[in-house]
């Protein structure tokens, strides 16, 4: 019998459909449609060179939103060795966000003609100025004045430097976002952490080689491409100009200087001068536009200090500058592509579109944020400060290093060399925090250590130390993080190359990093004579290395909020809210024993009456009445038969009697107590309704025993032996119930109902499945039971059985009471109870 109708199921389906529609609608509202972008590919002819006499054809693409306009423009520059194609995805994305984005292959790259001049003011800068002229003529581009478009520049590395240099040379540039680029190319390729300048710097040979190689990599394919476009039709073969085999597409003058440097491993004045001309350092104070500097933490080519120098130079002009150190750079890492895009777009929204948008903290640093609790992948955490402090930190900590003077050897030929990072391969090695490829060759390194840290230390910026190295030499200084029992890790694989002058004592600025040293870790300063990435003296030598001062000065930026904040508010609010919701759930809703209308009627004391049913009504969920205004009364000592055809509502009535289902109206009183779920008067009721219910894995005896224990009543009240006698199971009593036949379960269930000899015994079809002798026995038991002053209610469709067993009878049909009274009286009117019954229920039988 189920009280769940189809109505509620329909309602549930409707609710699910509504929820899905709502979710779909929200998605539609929240995810904006793509703005269509139109792309124009064209070649733009420019004139450059020191004398403005060189014609160059630049391969360009303009991406503009199809709707609206005119739009602010953005020039997106590509990295070294790449071309405009590499910028297409980024350009399309920016264009879809409302910008006219021009990408171009710089001279000497891709399908553009000309030779690489390393972002020279005479060449590339002149080119981009003419691209700005071109943009000013486009109808899609917003103008500030005739010939002056509203334009920003962005790009990484080579493309970042051109943004800085163009901004210095062309006042029409309104905002720039240079990424992972240089301030001084000479200092980048000839670094010197002793601060004595590039002229005395250590040649970064591995990176320089890669850099130079990238400029020649596509020489043949480019030549072929040019031929395919123009020459092939005229039957010319691919023509590779003289010297390109060695110099690639570099300007011959640059090529020559490089080769001289690479051969000697020492900077030449011409090289330094050439590189300076291609550097923002040569136009210091001339970049005066809002600048967002995005520098990679994993970058041994253009380390953090390059962005720092740019930031200082631009900020000195009063222009707004913001700085982000992200997990990326030329040595790889996450890259944070989406975030960098958002930052770039935000910067242009603010300074080009002039929207009042927030552009995040003035200084942001990406830190390892542990693992994602869901995916267990390493995640990044962005910390921010309101002010860019530079690489000297907002405060410093002084740590004491210990270590005697040590001798280190410079191997002949500079090999084998120690390793700090492998240029260009950092990304393959995972790069992030944990994995360190650093390796120091034995005999070539001096080591100085701090004591284990008693509290963690978040280093942000460049530490400094004084060293004494004799005789003057080239050494590499690294700061390792050493945890107990482990080889140290070199944060970001960065080493500081130092050219120590003959005097022997230098102040060394270590590479700027952001790194957390945990409790118990030591900081280890290592000084090595070699590094694979740099050119080192080939002559064998022995250096004496000692600390000039034991104090290692470490910059910190506490404003970045390194200290762990407490758990977020919702960690306490959510459980609290849940408790409130739970309390509301428990205090509202239909409650057991909600007064039904009939309750209001004053009921006289009926404590001696076993059962009084008044106006009992129960409706199925579909509205049909299962029991309809049923009233009757059972007196002590009666054996009452509850008779009726299937569906008459007998079992529903008995279930209400047991407090299993709650009546819609009316009430049941047992010994004067109103029945509701769990009413304690039910303890005087023994019941067997609609089949037995046992734990199939337990024996019959265990079932009865545990059931009695579950009632919580004393064992001597159970009258277990009398009950077991009725069950008459013999040895089967010790077998699991699941092995029982239907009849055995039936008898065990009746025995369970009779446990404790209840004052009111209710049995639903008790003789089902019993054989005739057992039926006769059962009949005797019930009559005897009533004879002790207790009361028995039997529902049965075996009319003859009722006639033989019962003293009184209640006849039901369709939930209604049809007749009630003594069996004798009913028989008196008809010859037989069965006839009476059939007469009463009419054609239903």
């Amino acid at each position: 019998m189920r009280f769940r109708g189809t109505l509620s199921r329909q309602r549930r389906i409707v609710a699910v459909v509504l929820a899905l529609l709502l979710a779909g609608g929200l998605t539609w509202l929240l995810v904006p449609g793509e703005t269509p972008v139109r792309t124009f590919e064209q070649r733009i002819e420019v004139v450059d060179g020191p004398a403005d006499d060189q014609r160059v054809s630049l391969d360009t693409a303009l991406h503009v939103p199809e709707t609206g306009g005119p739009h602010p423009a953005v020039l997106l520059g590509h990295g070294f060795g790449s071309s405009k194609e590499a910028m297409r995805p980024q350009a399309l994305r920016l264009a879809a966000e409302g910008y006219a984005v021009l990408t171009w292959s710089a001279r000497g790259f891709g399908r553009s003609t000309g030779e690489i001049a390393l972002n020279s003011p005479d060449y590339e800068v002149k080119d981009t100025k003419q691209l700005v002229d071109w943009l000013a003529r486009r109808p899609e581009v917003r103008l500030d004045a005739p010939g002056d478009p509203r334009v920003g520049m962005a790009g990484g590395s080579y493309g970042g430097a051109i943004a800085l240099l163009t901004a210095a040379h062309d006042t029409r540039i309104d905002a720039i976002v240079p990424q992972i680029t240089w301030y001084d190319l000479a200092d980048s390729l000839f670094p010197n952490a002793a601060g004595t300048g590039a002229a005395e710097g250590v040649f970064k040979k591995a990176w320089a080689g890669l850099f130079f190689g990238a400029g020649g990599a596509d020489v043949r394919s480019a030549a072929l491409a040019r031929t395919a476009e123009g020459g092939a039709a005229r039957g010319e073969g691919p023509a590779i100009p003289q010297g390109t085999v060695q110099c690639g597409r570099f300007l011959p003058a640059i090529c020559e200087i490089y080769q001289k440097v690479a051969e000697s491993g020492r900077p030449t004045p011409e090289a330094v001068e050439l590189l300076r001309r291609s550097s923002p350092s040569s136009v210091q104070g001339r970049v005066k536009v809002p600048t967002l500097l995005l520098q990679g933490l994993n970058d041994s080519l253009f380390p953090i200090d390059q962005a720092d120098a740019n930031a200082k130079a631009i900020a000195a002009t009063g222009a707004p500058v913001e700085v982000a150190w992200f997990d990326g750079g030329h040595d790889g890492g996450d890259g944070e592509a989406d975030r960098l895009h958002e930052l770039t777009r935000g910067w242009f929204d603010r300074w080009l579109a002039r929207e009042s948008v927030e552009t995040g903290p003035a200084f942001a640093v990406t830190r390892p944020g542990g693992r994602d609790p869901g995916t267990r992948r390493l995640v990044l955490q962005i910390t921010g400060a309101d002010r860019y402090p530079g690489i000297s930190g907002t405060a410093t900590r002084e740590l004491s290093l210990t270590g005697e003077r040590q001798e280190i050897a410079n191997p002949a030929g500079g090999s084998p060399a120690s390793i700090s990072s492998v240029p260009g391969f950092g990304s393959l090695l995972g790069g992030f925090a944990g994995a360190s490829t650093a390796l120091d060759m034995p005999g070539q390194s001096a080591v100085f250590e701090t004591a284990p840290l008693t509290e963690s230390l978040q280093l942000t910026g460049a530490s400094t130390i004084r060293l004494r190295v004799t005789p003057g030499a080239t050494v590499f200084v690294k700061l390792y993080d050493v945890s107990p029992g482990q080889p140290g890790t070199l944060p970001r694989g960065l080493a500081a190359p130092v050219r120590v002058p003959a005097s022997g004592e230098v102040s060394v600025r270590l590479p700027a990093v952001d790194h957390r040293f945990g409790v118990g870790h030591r900081l280890r300063l290592t000084v090595t004579s070699t590094d694979m990435g740099y050119a080192t003296p080939v002559a064998p030598a022995v250096y004496q290395v000692a600390l000039g001062s034991p104090t290692l000065t470490v910059p910190v930026v506490d404003e970045l909020g390194g200290a762990a904040s407490g758990p977020p508010w919702w960690t306490w609010a959510m459980p609290l809210g849940a408790v409130v919701v739970a309390a509301v759930l428990l205090l509202t809703g239909r409650r057991a024993g909600t007064p039904a209308p009939a309750d209001d009627v004053a009921v006289p004391a009926r404590e001696e009456v076993p059962l009084v049913i008044t106006g009992l009504t129960k409706r199925y969920r579909n509205g049909e009445l299962a029991v309809d205004d049923l009233s009757f009364r059972v007196e002590r000592g009666q054996v009452l038969g509850l008779l009726g055809p299937n569906g008459a509502g007998k079992t529903t009535t008995l279930r209400m009697l047991m407090g299993l289902i709650v009546p819609d109206a009316g009430q049941i009183q047992i010994y004067g107590q109103k029945v509701k779920p769990g009413a304690s008067v039910l303890s005087r009721l023994g019941s067997f309704v609609e089949g037995p219910g046992f734990l199939p894995h337990l024996s019959g005896r265990a079932n009865l025993k545990l059931y009695w224990q579950a009632t919580g009543r004393p064992a001597d009240e159970a009258h277990m032996d009398e009950a077991l006698e009725i069950a008459d199971l013999g040895a089967a009593l010790e077998r699991p119930v699941r092995t029982y036949s239907q009849g055995m379960r039936q008898r065990l269930a009746i025995a369970q109902a009779m446990l404790g000899l209840p004052d009111l015994l209710v049995l639903d079809e008790p003789t089902n499945g019993l054989d005739p002798p057992q039926i006769r026995e059962m009949r005797r038991v019930l009559i005897d039971y009533a004879a002790t002053g207790r009361t028995v209610i039997v529902s049965s469709h075996l009319l003859a059985e009722v006639e033989l067993t019962c003293t009184h009878v209640v006849v039901m049909r369709r939930g209604r009471l049809i007749a009630a009274g003594e069996v004798k009286e009913l028989i008196a009117s008809e010859r037989h109870l069965e006839d009476a019954f059939l007469t009463l229920i009419g054609d239903e039988a």
Partner: protein, 282 residues
Amino acid sequence: MTVKTAPGYRPGRTLPLRVEFVRQFLRRRTLLMFGLLLLLPWILAVAFMVGRPSQGNRAPNLSDLATASALNFTAFTLFVSVGFLLVVAVAMFCGDTVASEANWSSLRYLLAAPVPRGRLLRQKLVVALTYSAAAIVILPLMALLVGTVMFGWDDIQLPGTGQTLGAADVLPRFGIVIAYAMISQLVVAGLAFYLSVTTDSPLGAVGGAVGLVIISNIVEAVEALGVWREVLPTYWAMAWLDVIQLEISWAGMIKGSAVSVSYAVIFIALAFRRFRTKDVVS
């Protein structure tokens, strides 16, 4: 006659915990589940004997270090069980408890005994949670024993960095791990218990709770959800790994506990609300 109840009947004495423990313990599925939990560490140990974990260049994970020590082995055993096996165990103990009584029809006789409905749920919940807790305790204990026998008692090597921590220092931390594992399973327990009250099918209740975990795991993989994933019931299930680090980080476990406890409280309240007036028709 003035006696209102049967002699010796007191509502507060019905369905004593001891009786419910016995009723549940003698069930085959209870014994099978505990057997499986006790056997699993042995199976894992044998698996590791067949093929030793390789140590590559990358940062070692829990699996690489599983045979390093008894504690490592225990951590690994928990790592592979928390996501599913223990979920099934908890869902079974909490989901089966009322639904199986309904299924056997014994529920109506308990209610007519009468065991008051609130008390019946409370006693069943206490017993189910106790069995669930026992399952969560017994597995690492067995793993510790197996690990000690097979791989020796040694300092633990931390995943990710390979650093070592003294066994004596780390052992108490496993108390935290187990406690957190219990708390994080509360959400499963709560849902299974609620389903147990609403359905007559034990399989439906257990399956429903396990299904929730599966769905939650799938949704969790959608990183586009961002911070919303943090309120998924399983998102913080592995936060106890933060204990097996040089420095314990509590943030994940605090959030995970908040989420799990919140869901559990609501589910359990729903179960009581539903059962209080439910028409028992099974």
